[in-house]
Structure formats: C-alpha cells, structure tokens
C-alpha cells in the first residue's frame, strides 16, 4: 500500500526536477529574472531595509539534475529570509497576551495548516507586538525547531516567534506557492541538515547553504496549477487510505465481539440431549442458597423473571440473574490516610492489577492484618476465585492465582455448586461481553454498575457441560482473532 506521504514527496520531487511541467521557449529566461532580483536585493541592502546575509559556504554539490532552462538559487537570492521575533522572556508571559488582538502564529499552527494558515491560537497585545514583528499575509513560514521543515503561507498578517522563519520574495517573479511546494519537497533534506540533538533546530546559516531549483516565472505558475490539482487527489487518496487502516484495525475486536455474541446465543456449540438439565441445577442452587448469607448485597428470596430478554437463546438454556447463580462479594478500601491499614500482610487487588482474562499472581498494594480483621471480616478470597471490575472499567476479569482481598470496584464471583469450575470458566469468558452488552445505554454512560444491577445482570445459562464446550471453542477461536492484527 502506497502511503500518502511517500506519494506526495515523490510527486514533489518529480515536480522540482522539472518533469511535471513543460519547458516552453516563450518563457522569460530565468537569468533575466535573477538579474532583476539581484539588483532589487542590492538596493534593499543599501537602504538598510534588509541585512546582508553571510557569504555562501556550501560546497556547491547539486542534489539532482534540473532542466537547462532552470537555475539553482539560494533563498537569500530571491527574497528576504529572516527569523521571527520574540524578544521577551518568558515567551508565555501573560503580559504579552492580555486583551491581545494581533494574531500570533506558532510552530504548531504551521504544522497543522494545509497550505495556507487560516487560523491562529493566541494573540499579542500592544506589548507583545512591540517585542515582535508583524509579517504580511502571503509570507511563507518555515519551522526551524520542533518539527523542522513544516511550511505554510500566512493567510493574514501575523507575528511569529523565532522558532519560525519568514520568507518574502523580492517580487512576484518568485511564485510563493512554488516556493511552498519546493520547500515541502525539501523537508527531509532540511531535517538532515538540522543539529542532531534532542531539541534539534535548523539555523539560518545552514539554510543559506541549501540550493534550490528555480524555473522561469511562467513555468512556476504552470507547475503550481498542476500540483494543486494533483495534491487534491492525493489528499482524497489519503482519506481513503485512512479509512482502510481504521477498518483493518477494527476487525480483530469486531470479530471477537461477533464470536462472543455467537457463543452466548448458543450458536457455536451443539445443544446435546445428554447434557444435564439447567432447571434441575437451578432448583438445587435455590435449595442450598436459602441458608446462605449475602455480603453487601440486597437479600434475594427467589428467582425473578427477566422482563426483557436481551436476545434469543436455545430452548435448553435459561436466562438467570448473576446474583442467583453465584455468590457475589464486593470488596473494600481501608482509609488511605491511615498507615496502620497498609502493611504488606495480605495482597489487595485494584483494577490496575487485573490481567484481563488471565490468572492474577501479584498485586501492587497490600493491606495489614488489622485491616483484614476490621474491614474484611477476616475472610480471605481464596485462590481460584473469579474477579470482575464493575466501576469505571467494566468487565475486566481474572482468576485469582493467590489468596487475596480486593477493593470495592471489584466483585468476587463464586458460582454455586461449581466443583469442576465449569461455570467459573464460562463466566470468565463471557462476562466481559455480557456486562457491556444490552444495558449499555445505562451502564456505559456512568461507567458504573452498582450492587443491584450487578446482581441483576442477566446471564444466558447453558447446561454446564455445554458451558465447558463453549469455553473450549472460544479458547480455540479467540486467539485467532488476535492474529488478525497486521
């Protein structure tokens, strides 16, 4: 795939080698133009309108061939080149900006502009203006710090700091749009000439050693016309290229989602007659649960009806509420300010510790034994328990690889009657999807589930044997999605 930037650069190079425009006999000879510019320059120096620049110290090597009717020039030969001004320190002193009305262009504005700078961020006031210089619209701005070699033409009169250089042709025989394209073609070369330090910059001296191809006036105009048309097409190309890149980037996650969705609708597995009955399981749970106590959650007497099932599931499955099939425990955070709660006695999990979908082996923080007694009722969450985040980040899951405690943004989930961990493994795979599906408008807006909505979370519940088959299928399919990333 041709990257738009490479395409632009190669087209520009083509252009400044004279291959994109016809060299016509009737064009004004370039020597005449350069003579004219030279005498204007002499005059300007004499009247102190501009300063004489340092003599040329380049070695005269020519980077590439140009048509016979063109000439190599330096920017100083054809216009005024000087740095912007911002004498005052610090540069961002408020006194320069309060109630400002004079547009100030910075390197970021040049970089962001397409060809013409049409907007500005800050404005200088009278004081700011006094320590700077106003440049006329039509000035070509070149950045010499930060992003070196960005160019753009001022769409309005403005000031800019010394990290930007301004170029103003001596006459209209120098087509500013041509110079724009020409410098754009030189961007990489300019970067090469910059100092190779952390904060590199390109000095005017260095710029004065650079030679640029200069065509006859009329040919400049023709070239600009053609480049304008072609660059428009390249922009359109870039837009499509971007769409394609985004499309490809989105595929792995769309596939994961589609596969998970298919899984929880029973579309990835066969519903076998030999599987145990979900109904029987639920009855057994109900019996066992009647005697148990819930921590931190509203008491739930019996199974409630799901008023609106999120989607269709096979006949052998049932919709259940998470709170009906698993013991849910929300954690706690001991007061931060008090050091006595924070000793390395018991690992304590926060969302950042959770290795999504995997086994958790360590935590960043720990709480003390006294915290364990005071806030956690001296009950540790055993290794093998499923954890899920449900505040801020919803649906991050893991299995504890160590005994631990956790905070109140995490819930530990222990399915009832789950000796073989089939239900736990199933939930581990599908909870990230289920917790964000359906109730999405409510959940994601505040990015929080609460104890009630957590307990009420509808879960599509297959026979446990099928849950295992689903886990096996997903473990085969999901890693393949990750491989889709180019």
């Amino acid at each position: 795939m041709v990257v738009a930037d490479d395409l632009r650069l190669s087209i520009l190079q083509y252009a400044i080698e004279g291959k994109l425009s016809k060299q016509l006999e009737e064009d004004t000879p370039v020597e005449a133009t350069l003579e004219k510019l030279s005498s204007i320059k002499k005059h300007l120096i004499q009247t102190s309108a501009i300063k004489k620049e340092k003599p040329y110290t380049g070695d005269g090597t020519l980077p590439f061939d140009i048509p016979a009717t063109w000439r190599w020039v330096r920017l100083f030969d054809i216009g005024e080149l000087s740095r912007g001004k911002s004498k005052h320190r610090p540069r961002n002193d408020d006194v320069l900006y309060i109630n400002g009305t004079i547009p100030l262009i910075q390197t970021g504005d040049v970089a962001a502009a397409k060809k013409y700078i049409k907007s500005y961020g800050k404005c200088y006031n009278e004081i700011g203006f006094a320590q700077s210089r106003l440049w006329k619209a039509g000035t070509l701005c070149i950045t010499i710090a930060a992003n070196i070699g960005d160019v753009a033409i001022l769409g309005f009169d403005a000031c800019f700091p010394d990290s930007v250089v301004g170029f103003q042709p001596f006459t209209e025989d120098v087509n500013i749009e041509y110079i724009y394209y020409m410098l754009l073609a030189y961007k990489r070369r300019m970067n090469a000439k910059a100092t190779k330090v952390a904060q590199s910059n390109l000095s005017l001296d260095k710029m004065s050693t650079m030679l640029f191809p200069f065509p006859p006036v009329e040919e400049q105009r023709r070239l600009v016309g053609r480049l304008n048309d072609i660059m428009k097409k390249v922009d359109e190309y870039e837009k499509i290229e971007k769409q394609l890149t985004e499309l490809k980037a989105a595929l792995p996650s769309s596939m994961r989602e589609a596969i998970l969705f298919a899984a929880v609708q029973g579309k990835l597995t066969k519903q076998l007659e030999t599987d145990s009955s979900v109904e029987e399981y639920l009855n057994a749970v109900r019996t066992e649960k009647a005697a148990s106590i819930f921590e931190g959650l509203p008491k739930r007497g019996k199974f409630s009806e799901a008023k609106e099932y999120p989607f269709d599931i096979p006949n052998t499955w049932e919709w259940v509420r998470l709170g009906d099939i698993a013991n849910l425990k929300i954690g706690k955070t001991p007061p931060r300010g008090e050091a006595k709660w924070w000793h390395p006695d018991y690992p304590w999990v926060s969302i950042a510790d959770i290795p999504d979908g995997k086994t958790l082996l360590q935590t960043a923080e720990s709480v003390s034994s006294s915290a364990f007694d005071n806030f956690f009722k001296s009950t540790i969450i055993p290794k093998g328990t499923l954890l899920m985040s449900f505040k801020l980040t919803i649906g991050k899951v893991c299995v504890l690889g160590i005994d631990a405690l956790h905070n109140e943004a995490i819930v530990s989930i222990r399915p009832y009657m789950d000796k073989n961990m089939q239900i736990r493994n199933y939930l581990l795979r599908i909870l990230p999807f289920i917790s964000q599906y359906g109730e999405s408008k409510n959940a994601i807006k505040g990015n929080t589930l609460n104890a009630t909505s957590l307990s009420n979370l509808p879960i599509p519940f297959p026979p446990v044997e099928e849950q295992q088959r689903i886990v096996e299928r997903l473990d085969k399919l999901l890693p393949l999605c990750d491989e889709l990333v180019e």
């Binding site: 395409l7 087209i11 097409k233 290229e241 769409q243 394609l244 595929l251 989602e257 298919a262 599906y437």
Partner: protein, 495 residues
C-alpha cells in the same frame, strides 16, 4: 400450513437429495418450482376469464400435467421424474421461441426459466417437493394471505444466505413509504432497483384502493413497473407479483444504469418512484459514462439518484431509502448530486431510521428521503425515529411492523420541532425533529446529518456477517484506492 413449517419441511426434503448443497441452492430450487406452481394456478384464473385463453407452456410441461398428473397412478416419480425434469421440462421451457408477437406470458416463462437450474437428482425427493407445494390451497383466502407472509419469510430467510440484504426491504418500510408518496391511478409508478418487488406490490395494493371502474385494474397492471439486475431477485419479484394477482408483471431483467441518462425520452419518465437502491456497490467506468461527469460516482446508490432526477416527471413524487453515507460523505460528485437534487426538487422530508431495522443481518443506518418535483427546496424537515424504551428491532423478538412506526404518522401530519432532553446542561442541543432552511443546508455543503442518533447504534452481527462486511468494505476501499492512484498516475503522465 404454518409459516415456519413450509421452509423447514422444504429444507428437510432438500437435505435428502445429494444434488442440493447449501442454502442458496435449496432456495433457488424452491424459486423455480414455486413459480411453475403459482403460474399454473394463475392459468386457472385466466382460463376462466379469457375466451381465447391458450397456455404459453406446451401441454406436457404444464405443472398440472407433469407434476400433478391426472391420477395418483400417473404421477411420475423416481428416475422417470428426474429424467423428465432434466431432459424435457427444462430444455422445452428454456427453448421457448420468443417472437415479436409472443405473448407477454410466454416471455415471462422463458425469462424465469432461462437461468434456473434443477439441482435435484432424486426423483422421489422431487415428488415429495411437488406434493409439499401442492398441499398449499390457494383457493382458501386465508391460506393465500398466509402464503404471502410465508413468501416474505422466505425472502427474509434469504438474507441469512448472505449478501441478500441487497434485495429485501422490510415490508413495514415499503408500506410506509408507499403511503406517503401516494401513487395515483392512471399515472406511472416505478422502482428501478426493485429487488423482490416489495415496493411494486405495495404500489399495486395502494392503487387497487382507488379502483372505481373495471378498466382500472388493467390500468394498474400497465402503469407499475420494475427493473432488477440480478436473476434471483428478478425471478422472486415476478413470482411475488403473480402471487399478488398481477397477471403481467412488468418487471424487466436489466441494469437500468446501463442507459445514458441524457437519452431518456419524455415517455420514459415516470410520476412516482419508490426505491431502495443497493448500497456499497461499485459501478464500472462503462456504466459511469452514462452519467454527467460532474455527478459521476462509482457508488451505485448515487448513480440511481441521478437516474431518478432525470426520470421524474414534473409534479412527480419520490420516496427513496438511502444510507448515512449519502447524507454525510463529502466527495465532490456527491455534493454535486445533492445540489442538483435540492435545486430541482422539493426535498420536504428526511426520516432517520435506526440501524436495527435490518438487524441482525446488517447494522446499516438508513434514511427515508421524500421529495417531489414541484420546484426547488426551501426547507427540509428532519425527523429521527426512535424506538421506545431503548428497544431495538430484531427479526425474532421485535420485528419491525407497520404499527410500530405509528409515531412517524403522528408526526407527519402535525410537524413540530422537538428538542432532545439533555442529561447534562453542558451538552450541546440535539434535536429529534428539526425544520432546516435551504440556506443552512447549502452552507454546510449539503451535509444532511441533522437529528442523528445520539449514541452509536451498535448492532453486533454474526461472525460470518462481520467477515463479509469487512471484506466488502475493504474491497470497496481497495478499489477506490486503485482508482485514485490511477487518476494520479494519469495526471502525472500528461506533461
């Protein structure tokens, strides 16, 4: 016969026949057999009413003879039946000679059978299939109506065979649009991308309500026509029309984009257009050249819009379903098309429909455009159709039906601007219904994204559909990239 059962029973029979593989073949087998059966029933009706009736089909190939047979004993089955179908029925019907004098009916039969194919190899299965179809009693009106619904289920079922979202639009939408466009008896109504004929059927039924004299029925037949490019939906459309008692379905199997728009004569212009053009299609240069260069686009839906602009009569009305892309994309040619549309027509209403309308087969968001050729647009009303209580449409549990769209009807006749309730005062205003003057639209360069859906309508597709969508979009983008590169190369080449 219960709805789901026909398809299930049919599938069971097909499963037993080794020659039929895959959903598409199962359904295409049903399509031609169903056509011949339906045609046979229609012949009974025609025979009754027409003194000079003569079947377009040679006697031995008429369903009543080869499929039904005069008695139980005479019914063909097994190898005899397969042999008949492959070596007599198909060659005869495909080989029917069509002359300038040929009856329209003959043409229809030949067209329909032209690209049909008999996949079945087991005569016993063919017999079972025939018996299944014969079990439907078309004389019973309830069965007849029920059958139409079965037919629609069949059409919807095609969507799961993949890529068929192209030619089936939910009935609720076609009915709504037809009602609002309100075709009139005596004028011409058309659908240039008619798919399986949803709009055409609705138009016919709408016109039937206006019938006063005997001749009017014939007029309806002569003034409703459709064009469909693909064989499969074309056949289904013809059968669909026959089922709805249109004796000569005026459906042409062609690509209406193949004609140069400037060549349309006044007699080819129409008064009412109802359409759901295919989206994401890519038309070759050979097609694009039929359209003015400023408006030219490779996007099929856009080209259809241009065709509409060239074929709509003054005073005519139009209802079209278009994707979000048409509203929002900013390619030069599309803007030019919209400019022409808003200048030549009065685009009075645009209704934004949720992505779940076509779920779970595709999540594409669609928009209903209503315009008429009574002068340029001065203002456009936008309206966003929301389902109550955060519901989503779904094929099984919450199918889209006409009555569920009643909020649109209520708003249509009594239009008010409606602002959305804000959750947070700091959020910008959004609207459910808004009246936008043409100048505002021009200023935005014809970006018509008003009253859009606040949250991203996310519908999760099946893995197959996700992959198919991705491939389609990727291929489309790749094609566009190549196109652009070629344009650039061409521009570079000419010095």
């Amino acid at each position: 016969m219960a709805l789901g059962n026909l398809i299930k029973s049919w599938e069971n029979i097909m499963r037993d026949d080794d020659g039929v593989n895959g959903t598409v073949q199962v359904l295409s087998q049903l399509v031609w057999m169903l056509f011949l059966k339906v045609y046979d029933i229609k012949e009974d009706v025609w025979e009754l009413y027409e003194d000079d009736f003569q079947s377009a089909i040679p006697e031995k190939c008429r369903w009543r003879n080869w499929a039904k047979g005069k008695s139980q004993k005479e019914r063909m089955t097994g190898d005899t039946l397969v042999d008949f179908v492959d070596n007599t029925l198909f060659p005869t019907l495909k080989g029917l000679t069509v002359t300038a004098q040929s009856s329209k009916r003959l043409i229809i039969v030949r067209e329909m059978m032209a690209e049909s194919y008999n996949y079945m190899k087991d005569g016993v299965c063919i017999r079972r299939a025939i018996n299944l179809l014969d079990g439907i009693d078309f004389d019973d009106q309830t069965e007849h109506h029920a059958f139409n619904t079965i037919y629609e289920t069949l059409l919807r079922g095609l969507q799961s065979a993949g890529r068929s979202g192209e030619f089936y639009t939910p009935r609720a939408l076609t009915q709504l649009i037809t009602e609002k466009v309100n075709p009139q008896l005596g004028k011409i109504t058309a659908d240039f991308a008619c798919g399986t004929g949803g709009f055409l059927v609705d138009a016919v039924e709408h016109l039937r309500k206006q019938v006063k004299r005997a001749e009017d029925s014939a007029t309806i037949e002569e003034t409703v026509f459709g064009v469909e490019k693909k064989q499969f939906p074309y056949m289904l459309c013809t059968t669909n029309m026959l089922l709805h008692d249109v004796n000569y379905p005026r459906v042409t199997h062609a690509n209406s984009l193949m004609k140069n728009v400037r060549d349309y004569k006044p007699s080819e212009k129409v008064d009412f257009i109802l359409m759901n053009p295919p989206y994401g299609g890519h038309e070759q240069d050979g097609i694009q050249v039929n359209f003015p260069s400023k408006l030219r686009s490779s996007e099929t839906a856009n080209l259809f819009m241009i065709e509409i602009l060239y074929r709509l009569n003054d005073g005519g009305r139009c209802g079209v379903i278009l994707p979000d892309g048409f509203l929002q994309n900013d390619d030069t040619s599309l803007i030019a098309i919209k400019e022409k549309l808003f200048k030549e027509c009065n685009v009075h209403t645009i209704i934004r429909m949720p992505g779940s309308c076509f779920a779970p087969y595709t999540s594409i968001s669609t928009n209903l455009f209503f315009f008429d050729k009574t002068g340029g647009t001065t203002e456009t009303w936008f309206y966003r159709f929301d389902l109550p209580n955060n519901q989503k449409f779904s094929m099984k549990r919450n199918p889209i039906t006409r009555d569920k769209l009643s909020a649109i009807d209520a708003w249509w006749d009594n239009r008010q601007e409606i602002k959305d309730k804000k959750e947070d005062e700091s959020l910008t205003d959004t609207w459910k219904s808004l009246r936008v003057p043409i100048d505002a639209i021009k200023d935005r360069n014809y970006n018509l994204d008003y009253c859009g859906f606040p949250d991203e309508e996310k519908v999760i597709l099946s893995p197959e559909e996700t992959i198919a969508n991705f491939k389609e979009e990727r291929d489309q983008l790749d094609r566009e990239l190549d196109e652009k590169l070629q344009v650039i190369l061409d521009m570079l080449g000419v010095v």
